[in-house]
């Protein structure tokens, strides 16, 4: 498999030019509103998650129904920094975050150590989801947990984490989570300039994720991964220790979700335990199924289309959104097993 053909590179460059040049210029000159910039930034975070999901599901054949957990952990880790950046500007005018003042805490719990450092929290946003995925994956893959059993366990994992984060004693704001952010890197976070910069940074992260994932799936490693999906026993009898292959791509996938979560929180302005609800993780799988499993750009496109539709529906007909999502999933599964990317491929040939 080639990295990208002429068409692929043109599409890549075109997307980069729109997100990194055209839209920022149009926005700063008043032609595109900041609402759209923030919406695009948010959807690109989801696209990163979709690519991460596609690596593990579309290529390695492992369906995770708990990827929302890694996304939320990245969001919480970076959210700690944003909470510290509020300083004494909260409702209570205290140096501690409001929820801690409300709970009458006098000092920061251990989880918040060094949380006023941007670099520390950015690192945590990648390392915490990665570490959790590594430990969980090590035991699951070593015990050869597969298929629907694996999916159910990941679902239980994110549900358990959600219950944990709902508790005030966990130290992350209970059911309210983190919100009311004021600054990032000591600069105001809600200005149009900050929004456009965050959107552009997310665009760079998305393009980087796409290149990294493309490099992986076009390498020999990627071919081994797809072989594990199709005939794992044969791969083992070829002399590959499949556990380490699965563990690598599983952990990488979680780290990418953490990155997306860390970029998401400053743009959306809130993170709470509902991000860990099982329904959110299932939705991630739907994006990938709609876009096309096993095609990275397709997965990203699926995240864009489903979330674009969601933004439209939840404003126009809020009560019908879930019906639409369910119908979309059924139709795609029945008629487009390769998703939209598969349809495009068929039309082209």
């Amino acid at each position: 498999m080639r990295f990208y053909g002429k068409l692929g590179w043109s599409a890549f460059a075109g997307f980069a030019a729109i997100v990194l040049l055209a839209l920022p210029i149009l926005n700063l000159n008043g032609y595109v509103s900041t609402f759209w910039i923030t919406l695009l930034g948010k959807i690109m975070c989801y696209a990163i998650v979709a690519i991460a999901m596609d690596l593990i599901w579309g290529y390695a054949g492992i369906l995770s129904l708990g990827h929302g957990l890694f996304f939320a952990l990245g969001g919480y880790a970076f959210g700690m920094y944003l909470m510290r950046q509020i300083g004494s500007d909260g409702q209570y005018r205290q140096p501690m975050p409001d929820f801690m003042v409300f709970l009458d805490w006098k000092e920061f719990p251990w989880q918040w150590w060094n949380s006023d450092s941007f670099l520390w929290c950015a690192m945590l946003a990648l390392v915490v989801p990665g570490l959790l995925a590594y430990v969980f994956g090590y035991f699951a893959f070593r015990s050869r947990v597969k298929g629907v059993y694996f999916s159910i366990i990941t679902q239980a994992l994110t549900f358990a984490a959600m219950l944990l984060f709902f508790r005030n004693a966990t130290g992350f704001g209970g059911n309210n989570g983190f919100t009311d952010f004021r600054r990032i890197l000591d600069l105001p976070i809600a200005t149009p300039q900050a929004r456009v910069v965050l959107m552009a940074v997310t665009g760079i992260a998305l393009l980087g994720t796409l290149l990294l994932a493309r490099w992986i799936v076009t390498s020999k490693f990627g071919r081994v991964l797809a072989a594990i999906r199709d005939a794992e026993t044969r791969v083992m009898f070829c002399g590959y220790d499949t556990m380490h292959y699965k563990l690598f791509v599983w952990t990488l996938s979680a780290v990418l979700c953490g990155l997306a979560g860390a970029l998401y929180v400053p743009q959306v302005g809130i993170i709470n335990p509902s991000e860990m609800s099982p329904a959110n993780s299932i939705e991630i799988a739907i994006w990938v199924a709609v876009g096309g499993r096993g095609t990275l750009a397709g997965a990203a496109l699926g995240a864009g289309i489903v979330n674009g539709a969601k933004s439209f529906f939840t404003q126009a007909f809020p009560e019908y959104w879930l019906f639409f999502l369910g119908a979309l999933f059924i139709l795609v599964t029945l008629f487009l097993p390769q998703g939209i990317a598969g349809l495009l491929k068929k039309v082209r040939s």
Partner: protein
């Protein structure tokens, strides 16, 4: 045994051509035996699939294993390749490699290749990629991420493509091959692993007469350099390639010897024809 004379020649040819090789992958053939199974027992829910099975395969030998359904042929292969752990008994590869201590992947790396009863290839990969993935190489994650095909590796894949007569199908998706071609591709994948011992479970099932003929030739040409264990139901095929035949029945060895001796054995006749 009329064929005994060819065996020592085979051994020296094989070992002599690859002395450095033996040292590298640690396979010790000093006693000329590539595989020892001793008193292996495997039970599934009280049913003894293998019952005190002892068997040894000489280096460079081509051994056929026959037996009625449920005799334990596939379970024996599962034990050798690490898929099933024996309840009792020992399995050694060469003098020193204890198969019970190794994982499936480690056993494959040590030099045992296996062809399954139902052809198992990577259906969504091309024929070329199937061979590339099975090729002997450093198969750890990091090496595989940065792996590039060298020209000598490309040559060896092309050589195998010629050998299995799939050269013109090289870029075709393997799932589109005919059943017989899939069998050949799987044999080719095995050869790319450069195994010392090949286990072949019903390799000619579903092949045309001509393909079967060519497979027999191929196996005969491999013996000597490699050791082969062939499990097969097709008696005409076994007759064509067999030097020494082992008959399994109810998980143990019932008879062993050349084809004619085995066929004349009254116990074998009884097992095959019923009592």
């Amino acid at each position: 045994m009329s064929t005994a004379a060819t065996h020592p020649a085979g051994i020296t040819g094989g070992a002599g051509a690859s002395i450095g090789h033996v040292a590298k992958d640690g396979l010790d053939l000093t006693h000329g035996v590539v595989l020892y199974l001793e008193a292996i027992t495997v039970s599934f829910d009280g049913f003894r699939a293998l019952n005190n099975l002892s068997l040894s395969i000489d280096a460079g030998e081509l051994r056929c294993v026959i037996g009625p359904n449920g005799a334990g042929k596939t379970t024996m292969m599962d034990v050798i390749t690490g898929k099933t752990r024996p309840d009792a008994g020992t399995a050694f590869f060469g003098q020193t490699i204890d198969l019970a201590r190794l994982s499936e992947a480690e056993i494959a790396q040590a030099g045992i290749g296996r062809k399954f009863q139902k052809p198992t290839i990577f259906e969504h990969h091309t024929v070329f990629e199937n061979l590339e993935l099975s090729m002997k190489a450093d198969k750890r994650v990091r090496r595989t991420l940065f792996a590039r095909l060298s020209s000598s590796e490309r040559d060896s894949i092309n050589e195998t493509l010629n050998l299995i007569r799939l050269k013109d199908q090289s870029d075709r998706v393997a799932g589109l091959l005919s059943h017989g071609q899939k069998q050949w591709l799987e044999i080719g994948m095995l050869l790319m692993q450069e195994p010392r011992l090949l286990l072949l479970d019903e390799p000619v099932a579903g092949m045309s007469d001509e393909e079967t003929e060519r497979t027999a030739e191929l196996f005969l040409s491999l013996a000597g350099k490699h050791s082969l264990v062939v499990v097969e139901h097709d008696m005409a095929f076994v007759e064509k390639i067999a030097r020494k035949v082992t008959v399994l029945h109810e998980g143990s060895v019932l008879a062993e010897g050349d084809m004619r001796t085995v066929q004349a054995d009254p116990r074998v006749i009884e097992v095959y024809l019923g009592r």
